[in-house]
C-alpha cells in the first residue's frame, strides 16, 4: 500500500535534468564508439592493402612478362629447342595445352563418378564404414600432392608397367581430386532438407531410390560446383604429373601416350639455359592462370544462377 502511494506521489512530469544528464553521457559514449569503429575500419583497410600487394604484384608481373609471349602460333605450334643460329625459336605450347586438357578430362572421368557416389554415401548413411571413409578423405585432402605422383609412379608406371602415360598422370590427378569432390558432395547432399527424403520414403520409395532420384538432383548445384573447383585445382598441379606423364612432344589425346602439361612445361622451361625459353615460362603461366580463372568463374556463375532459379 505504501508503495502505491509513493508511486502516486512521484512527479508525472519527466525529470528534465536527469534526461539531459543521460543524454550527455550517451553522447560521449557514442563519440567513443564512433572513434573506435573508425580505427577498426582503418586497420582492416591496412590489412587488406598488405594482403593485396603481393597479389597485385604477382598479376602485374604475370601480365607484364606473359602478354608479350602470347601470339596465335603460341597456341598452335609444338615447342622447339632454340639453337645458336636461332636462339629465339622456342615454338608454341600446343602439346602442353592438349596434354592439360586430356589429363583433366581423363582425371574427371576417373574421379567424378566415384567421388560423387562416395559423397552421397557419406551424407546418407551413418555406418562405421562411412565414418572411416570420411576420415580417409579428409586426411587425403591435406596430403602433399607429390605423394599422388609418387604413388602413380611406383604403382602404375613401375609395378603395372604401363609406362609414362597420360593415364598415369590422370590417375594421380584423380586421386588428388577425389577428396575435394567427396567433401563438397557430402556437404551439398547434407544441405538437402530432410522433408524431401521423408516425402520420397512416404511414397514407398526404397532409400537408395530416394538418394538417386530426389536427393542427388536437389543437390546437383553444389556437387557441380565442387567438381569444377576440384578440376581447377587439378589443372594447375605440377607435382602429381611431374613424375609420370613423360613430357610428350606431340599433340596427343591418347591416354596411353606420353603427354605434356602446362605446369610441367613451366617447370622444364624454367630450368632451360636459353633465355628465350625462360621468358616463355610467363606466357605459359598466363595461359594457365586464365584457364583456371575461367573454370572457377564458371563454377561461380553456375552456382549463383542455379540459386536464383531455386529462389
Amino acid at each position: 500500500m505504501s508503495e502505491l502511494i509513493e508511486l502516486e506521489e512521484k512527479p508525472l512530469e519527466p525529470d528534465h535534468g536527469m534526461r539531459e544528464e543521460i543524454r550527455s553521457i550517451s553522447d560521449s559514449v557514442r563519440a567513443r564508439r564512433v572513434a573506435r569503429s573508425r580505427i577498426m575500419v582503418a586497420l582492416c583497410g591496412v590489412a587488406l592493402f598488405i594482403a593485396a600487394v603481393p597479389l597485385v604484384a604477382l598479376l602485374y608481373q604475370l601480365f607484364d612478362k606473359g602478354l608479350s609471349q602470347i601470339h596465335w602460333k603460341f597456341f598452335t605450334t609444338l615447342p622447339m629447342t632454340p639453337t645458336l643460329v636461332s636462339p629465339n625459336a622456342t615454338g608454341g605450347i600446343s602439346n602442353a595445352i592438349v596434354g592439360t586438357i586430356a589429363l583433366t578430362i581423363y582425371a574427371s572421368i576417373l574421379a567424378i563418378p566415384v567421388g560423387v557416389l562416395v559423397g552421397v554415401y557419406l551424407a546418407e548413411t551413418d555406418s562405421k564404414l562411412a565414418t572411416s571413409l570420411r576420415v580417409v578423405s579428409q586426411t587425403m585432402a591435406g596430403a602433399p600432392s607429390i605423394l599422388m605422383g609418387l604413388f602413380a609412379f611406383s604403382f602404375l608406371v613401375h609395378d603395372l608397367n604401363i609406362g609414362f602415360t597420360a593415364i598415369a598422370g590422370s590417375f594421380a590427378l584423380a586421386v588428388l581430386m577425389l577428396p575435394v569432390i567427396i567433401i563438397s558432395t557430402e556437404i551439398a547432399v547434407r544441405n538437402v532438407p530432410n522433408s524431401l527424403r521423408e516425402a520420397g520414403l512416404a511414397l514407398g520409395a526404397k532409400p537408395h531410390k530416394v538418394s538417386l532420384k530426389v536427393v542427388l538432383p536437389s543437390s546437383i548445384t553444389g556437387i557441380v560446383t565442387g567438381c569444377i573447383l576440384a578440376i581447377s585445382r587439378a589443372v594447375g598441379e605440377t607435382a602429381p604429373v611431374l613424375l609420370v606423364i613423360g613430357g610428350g612432344f606431340t599433340n596427343s589425346w591418347q591416354p596411353f601416350d606420353p603427354v605434356s602439361a602446362m605446369p610441367l612445361a613451366i617447370f622444364e622451361n624454367a630450368k632451360s639455359e636459353w633465355p628465350s625459353q625462360r621468358a616463355q615460362v610467363w606466357g605459359i603461366a598466363l595461359v594457365l592462370v586464365i584457364f583456371v580463372f575461367i573454370l572457377s568463374l564458371t563454377a561461380r556463375i553456375w552456382a549463383s544462377r542455379k540459386q536464383q532459379v531455386r529462389n
Partner: protein
C-alpha cells in the same frame, strides 16, 4: 419448467444418438497399446483405438502430446530414426505392419502421407511430382502415368488450375497449391489410408478452407487420419477424435477416443472437456 424438461430430453436424445463403435463400420487400422520411444525415452504411449474406414480420424492435443509421433508410427516413418522404437501393435486390414508379412515400401504405398509443410520435389515438374510415387515403385507405362496424374490432380482439386502447365516446376505453385499437389502425389498410389500431419498449419485461411473441403470428399475413397492443432478444424472435418495429453513424465498418452461429436460435446474425461473448451493447451 416445461421448457427445461424439453431441453433435458433434447440433450438426452442427443447423447443416446452417439454413434457406437459398431456403427462406425469396418476398421482400417487397429492400434493396440502403441507406444513410441526414442533412445528409451517414451514420447507417446497407451494408444489403443480403431481407425474406421472411410472416416476422418483426428488426433488432437497440446504441443508435446505425441500426436505427430503417433501418426508417423502408422507408416513406419520412425524406422530410419536412430534409437526410435515402436511397441504394441498396429495393424492394417488385420496385418501387423511391424511384424506381419508386409514390406515397409508396400505399407507406405498403402498408407500415404501429407506433411506439415508442403514438400513437393523442387527439381521435378508438377507432372513428375504427381507420378513420382508410381515411378519409385517401378511403373513406367506412359499411358498409365498420364491417366493417374490427371485422376489424382482432379481428386486434389488441382487439375483445372494446372492442367495447362504440367511441365512447369512444382516450386512455381503457391503454398496451398503445393500442398494439394502433395495430396495428389499421395493419392496417385491409390492408398487405403492417408495420414495428414497438420496439413494446413503452413497455409493461409483460404487455402486451409480448400484443403478442408477436399478432405470431406476424399474420405469417400480413402481413410484419413489427421493431426491438427486447430480444434475448430478437428470439429469441422473429423468423424472420430483421439485426444492426447502429455503426462507427468512428459510422455504423451491417449486420454480419450470417441466420435468427434462426443469428444466435443460430452466427453468422459474432464481434461478433454477442459481442452476442447480452451481452458488450457
Amino acid at each position: 419448467m416445461e421448457q427445461e424438461i424439453e431441453i433435458m430430453t433434447e440433450i438426452k436424445s442427443e447423447t443416446t444418438q452417439v454413434v457406437t463403435p459398431a456403427v462406425r463400420g469396418p476398421v482400417a487400422m487397429q492400434l493396440t497399446n502403441v507406444a513410441v520411444a526414442f533412445h528409451g525415452r517414451v514420447a507417446v504411449r497407451d494408444c489403443t483405438f480403431d481407425v474406421a474406414k472411410n472416416r476422418v480420424t483426428s488426433l488432437i492435443g497440446p504441443s508435446g502430446s505425441g500426436k505427430t509421433t503417433l501418426l508417423r508410427a502408422l507408416n513406419r516413418l520412425h524406422d530410419l530414426t536412430p534409437g526410435a522404437k515402436v511397441t504394441g501393435s498396429i495393424s492394417l486390414e488385420g496385418t501387423d505392419i511391424y511384424r506381419g508379412n508386409l514390406t515397409v515400401t508396400e505399407l507406405r504405398t498403402r498408407v500415404g502421407m501429407v506433411f506439415q509443410r508442403p514438400n513437393p520435389f523442387p527439381t521435378m515438374s508438377i507432372y513428375d511430382n504427381v507420378v513420382s510415387g508410381l515411378r519409385f515403385n517401378g511403373i513406367k507405362k506412359k499411358s498409365l502415368l498420364d491417366e493417374s496424374a490427371e485422376a489424382s490432380l482432379r481428386s486434389a482439386a488441382l487439375w483445372d488450375s494446372v492442367s495447362s502447365r504440367l511441365k512447369v516446376a512444382a516450386s512455381n505453385l503457391s503454398g496451398g497449391e503445393q500442398q494439394r499437389l502433395c495430396i495428389a502425389r499421395a493419392l496417385a498410389l491409390d492408398p487405403e489410408v492417408l495420414l495428414m500431419d497438420e496439413p494446413t498449419s503452413a497455409l493461409d485461411p483460404i487455402a486451409t478452407l480448400h484443403i478442408e473441403e477436399l478432405m470431406k470428399t476424399l474420405k469417400e475413397r480413402v481413410t484419413v487420419v489427421i493431426v491438427t492443432h486447430n480444434m475448430q478444424q478437428a470439429a469441422r472435418i473429423s468423424d472420430d477424435c483421439a485426444f492426447l495429453l502429455m503426462g507427468e513424465d512428459r510422455a504423451g498418452e491417449l486420454i480419450e477416443f470417441d466420435t468427434t461429436e462426443k469428444i466435443f460435446n460430452n466427453p468422459d474425461d474432464s481434461r478433454t472437456l477442459d481442452y476442447t473448451l480452451g481452458r488450457f493447451g
